[in-house]
């Protein structure tokens, strides 16, 4: 029938979200993580997703470690870590070596190619961050970051190193 029948909202805008939801920072963060994922996909896929990069950063910053130690540090389940490391190993970014002192353990080591991949990924993260926080001035970005960090540190004490506030 008529095309505009279902959209009498030229001013009302049929895309507005319920205000009672917009009031909650947790709701906004949920939607913004969706946006961040979209931006990251747009910037180009190097085959690495967020958890992969997290693991690479862990290996780079804290050196070769067992899978259990990675799991504890990152809060990634040990069983999920298996396939992540399979991916990284297949791509040549990390290797598993048996620990001779405790043969139950593997020692995971970052390769040279892995370091390169991490550097590239951090470049993408930087551009994504710029796009995501585009409307904020530098001091506002710092403000946002500081508030989020305080909230996070409150719920996950120990995950934020002393040196980093």
């Amino acid at each position: 029938m008529m095309a505009g029948m279902s959209a009498p909202e030229s001013t009302e805008d049929g895309r507005a979200l319920p205000e009672r939801l917009l009031r909650y920072p947790s709701f906004l963060m949920l939607r913004l993580t969706r946006e961040a994922r979209r931006i990251r996909a747009f910037l180009g896929d190097d085959g690495l997703r967020a958890p992969h990069v997290t693991v690479l950063a862990c290996l780079a910053d804290f050196g070769p470690t067992s899978q259990k130690a990675i799991s504890d540090r990152l809060g990634i389940d040990a069983s999920d870590l298996v396939s992540l490391l399979d991916d990284l190993e297949r791509a040549g970014y990390a290797t598993r070596r048996r620990d001779d002192h405790d043969r139950r353990r593997y020692t995971v080591v970052l390769t040279t190619a892995g370091k390169r991949a991490l550097r590239r990924s951090m470049g993408v993260a930087e551009r994504m961050n710029d796009l995501l926080l585009e409307p904020l001035r530098p001091e506002e970005r710092e403000q946002l970051h500081g508030l989020l960090l305080r909230v996070f540190a409150h719920h996950d004490p120990g995950r934020v190193p002393e040196s980093y506030r």
Copy 2:
């Protein structure tokens, strides 16, 4: 062998995350949405998850609408909406009525029980918000909310009604 062998990090703390990741608001938001989910689970499960509540709020604020209109407004895929509405209908919180003017459409209506359920859910959301933002003072919470809202409005123009900044 020795129990403390794998934890020589009394000061180093084996749970610290890589600083280069903590620098990114998007990383912190990702971890905080995990925390929010945990808090919500802790507060008690009324069987409704976040998307269910979002749909209820949509119906309450904008009245009876077609599934397509809900999908467009909330950015929830139409195919995913099907099972959500199945859940809500089964719980007696919403009903589907054939649209007589366009029999392809259903008109989704919020029931009285649905309004009650929404009120309860918003109560849970309020307590979750309090727990999540515990370390922040009221004016800091307002600051955080304002910053997140501006970022969100920038990426999803039209989703934030004019009346709501």
